[in-house]
């Protein structure tokens, strides 16, 4: 049995194919704005224009034909509406035309399932950090529950906003990391954590105010140290509170080496297992949608419409 998965919640259009055991293909293309942030309609246009080409590529990489596919899974949310609806419409079209079962997958749960697959961890706490999402998620009582999250903006979003103050191109994360390595002096920044929730927007406001008084290296160094400390602290609280034995970081911001180093150190100190997952599967991708679609293949879903605010704890987990 083969599942084809479509991801389109934000910048990336991704197509993945799995037989439930292996990932047979995982192709994608990311829309990059010339300047500034994401323009939803442009991202959607980008996704529509590449959809059929990427689906063909994924099929040929896995040596399959569309007729071999049994289930079409798509990212149902959360996400930005214009790009989000692309995977829904493409999935619907294929499903109706070729008579295939359609499965709507929660994007955040898909990140968690692919992380479980690649780390081998049965029941980890997951820190999911991307442009729009910043959440601490773990399994409890039949659902994936959000134990902590940002009360305002996502961490990737914060990095991009700060990046713009210094004319760093989108996505700003990698360049911020490179410059931060040269920073030495720690500048105290708003450290805002309540229980397992964090607020991040105060840091942007703060940096706007001090940006001309310090070296950029020190500002970006302090930015990373402050924000990542908050995220790791919230994660540690969730690990302690839920009594879990493993921890994984995923999402686009998981590419940051310093964040991983901090996660690893925290786990070492409390004797919790830690693993990174390959970036190919940490960023948004179609394989995670396909794989989660495979896990959910027996679900009977009534509501397949895109949900921009789709919560992880809306989905009853019946397969574990």
């Amino acid at each position: 049995m083969y599942v084809l998965g479509l991801e389109s919640t934000a910048h990336t259009f991704g197509v993945g194919i799995t037989d439930g055991k292996d990932i047979l293909s995982n192709v994608r293309d990311t829309y990059l704005p010339e300047r500034g942030g994401i323009i939803p309609s442009k991202a959607a246009e980008h996704h529509y224009s590449l959809a059929s080409k990427l689906i063909e590529k994924a099929l040929s990489e896995s040596g399959l034909k569309l007729k071999d596919i049994d289930v079409i899974a798509f990212s149902q949310g959360p996400g930005i509406f214009a790009p989000l609806k692309v995977s829904f419409q493409v999935a619907k079209y294929i499903s109706e035309k070729f008579n295939k079962k359609m499965i709507g997958v929660n994007h955040c749960i898909a990140h968690l399932e692919i992380a479980r697959k690649f780390t081998g961890f049965q029941d980890p706490v997951m820190l999911y950090v991307s442009g729009g999402n910043t959440q601490v998620i773990t399994f409890e009582d039949g659902y994936y529950r959000i134990f902590g999250e940002t009360q305002d903006i996502g961490v990737g979003n914060l990095l991009d906003k700060v990046g713009r103050l210094f004319e760093i191109k989108f996505p700003a994360g990698p360049e911020i990391e490179r410059i931060a390595k040269r920073g030495k002096r720690y500048i105290e920044m708003p450290y805002s954590i309540k229980g397992m929730d964090v607020s991040l927007s105060g840091i942007e406001t703060f940096i706007k105010r001090i940006k001309n008084s310090y070296r950029i290296e020190d500002i970006l160094f302090s930015l990373q140290e402050t924000v990542f400390s908050m995220l790791i602290e919230a994660s540690e609280r969730a690990i302690a509170y839920c009594g879990k034995d493993s921890f994984v970081i995923t999402g686009g911001v998981a590419a940051n080496k310093r964040l991983n180093e901090m996660g690893e150190k925290m786990c070492e100190e409390r004797k919790t297992k830690f693993k990174s997952i390959p970036m190919e599967y940490a960023g948004d991708n179609g394989a995670m949608i396909a794989y989660t679609g495979f896990l959910m293949k027996d679900y009977q879903q009534n509501d397949l419409k895109p949900k921009t605010n789709f919560r992880t704890d809306e989905v009853k987990i019946e397969y574990r």
């Binding site: 105290e188 602290e233 302690a240 150190k265 605010n309 919560r311 809306e314």
Partner: protein, 197 residues
């Protein structure tokens, strides 16, 4: 000295009839930030304990701060929690204390029945590790919201009756109950909205 518990940010030791709460070093944070956070949080917690104690709210009697400013010495109250020995009478008593705390702008930040200790026939509030000072209605309402969720999760069978009784007593001592109740409802509907997507 016996180790009592290890939390995410501190270790608690028992020494005779004293408790020592030690905020431990976190190697993942740079030393400068780590030290700053541990000291400021320990000082704040000690200050809140002192304030509560002087207001006659039953909390462990604060004894002293360590020289490092990262440890609090306080009175040991035993380990009989309301969580394991649930009784509405004690919860009503706690409601009175929480209302008085809120009147004075003290937020507990982690209200659960595990953080309420029964000693003799009295109830005590412990663990102000996430506490802070605030007169914001939102913060007080959030404090109550957390307790409501904790009751629902841990005392499911009696939760409705317990929570109603808690609110009645809280109302009796609160100086701004109407505002807080209104905000509490708002927080809940916000939450419902999010839960529904």
């Amino acid at each position: 000295m016996k180790i009592m518990s290890v939390g995410a940010e501190s270790k608690v030791f028992l020494n005779g009839n004293e408790i020592i709460k030690d905020r431990i070093k976190k190697g993942y944070r740079i030393a400068e930030l780590d030290k700053k956070l541990r000291i400021s949080r320990t000082k704040l917690e000690f200050k809140i304990l002192n304030k509560c104690y002087s207001l006659g709210i039953r909390v462990p009697r604060p004894i002293k701060l360590s020289k490092s400013l990262t440890k609090i010495f306080m009175e040991y109250l035993g380990n009989k929690t309301l969580k394991d020995n649930f009784n509405i009478k004690y919860l009503n008593d706690a409601a009175m204390m929480i209302a008085k705390m809120h009147n004075r702008g003290i937020i507990h930040g982690d209200l659960t029945t595990a953080n309420m200790i029964i000693k003799g026939d009295k109830i005590y509030l412990i663990d102000f590790g996430l506490g802070y000072f605030s007169q914001k209605t939102e913060d007080k309402a959030t404090d109550l919201f957390l307790l409501k969720n904790a009751l629902k999760a841990k005392h499911t069978k009696v939760y409705k009756r317990a929570y109603r009784s808690f609110l009645e007593n809280y109302k009796r001592y609160s100086e701004e109950y109407e505002k807080i109740a209104e905000r509490l409802e708002e927080i809940e509907s916000r939450r419902r909205y999010i839960d529904q997507g």
